[in-house]
Symmetry: C2
Subunit: 165 residues, 2 copies
Amino acid sequence: MGEQKQKKREFLDILVALRQIIRATDLHSKHVMKVCGLTVPQLVVLLAIEELGAVTVRQISKHVSLSQATVTTILNRLEDRNFVKRTRNTTDKRVVNSCLTDKGRAVLVDTPPLMDGHFMLRYEKLDSAKRAEILEALQEVANLMAPEEGTPIPPTDDGELTPLL
Amino acid sequence: MGEQKQKKREFLDILVALRQIIRATDLHSKHVMKVCGLTVPQLVVLLAIEELGAVTVRQISKHVSLSQATVTTILNRLEDRNFVKRTRNTTDKRVVNSCLTDKGRAVLVDTPPLMDGHFMLRYEKLDSAKRAEILEALQEVANLMAPEEGTPIPPTDDGELTPLL
DNA sequence: ATCAAATGTTTTGACCTGTAATCATTCGCT
DNA sequence: AGCGAATGATTACAGGTCAAAACATTTGAT
């Protein structure tokens, strides 16, 4: 009977850890915003454009694991502030290609940290076995949470580049 | 020299896993919203009130690890929809006490899942050693990300109940 | 040629989240 | 008693995030 309680406790512990991680991640993003004027998601989108060149919204969305709508709103802000330039593709007028402006390129020369420096320092102090264990556990959780199994790496194979991030 | 690259790769992997986890968590919250009409944060606040009784905003905020402002906005929505009732404390008119309404109590009788059922099912299938490893890793990461070390459990000891979540 | 389905993007609407500023009260000192 | 500091809550503002709806365009089938 107490076994159910036990299970509940276990999930609660996971929930608590996850919430702390999510909160810390968000706080870091806010911090980066104050320091360098761009949030982590904005930087990630910028990096994706740098890596992929003139790229469609959908490609960015896949690459950074965000919905198309989210990427659009991030692009709006980035374009307002002149970090990227959007141009409609001439051959297919549905698609929009995004490029970095000089300002956009400039802000990336000295990439601000996407991850909390505090965390990185402490993480690096761990021995590599521990680090591997942690990484593996995180990936395991991510997989467990993935929408559907069967295709851990979905056979999108639609010419996508490595969907890093 | 390729050692730096290696480190970078490692952090990138962590970042990717974290982003997927955060995204999945958010998606689950949206899903819960569609199914039961309340998001996970709203449920968590409701549960905190159920557990703590007539409680101040600050206490809720501590209990659920969210800022006071965030709790206020969540309470706004919950009060608008008549799940909670706020009353100013008579002895100290600065403080606001929140209580569940009948409707609020009712919605909690069959607590909707705070965690993705899909995830829970798959997680339960793992052997307990693996599960322990995962939980430990998550807590390790949460600690590594905590604002300051030295006081893993900060000596708040201000009569708080267990700050679960 | 035409019209429906598919595709790519943006808009809309709802929520979560935090910091900083503001408001109201209470407390502590003199 | 009175005034400034501390405390509790809310508001204002800036983002992130998504699903669904709305648009625009292209493609495919007739």
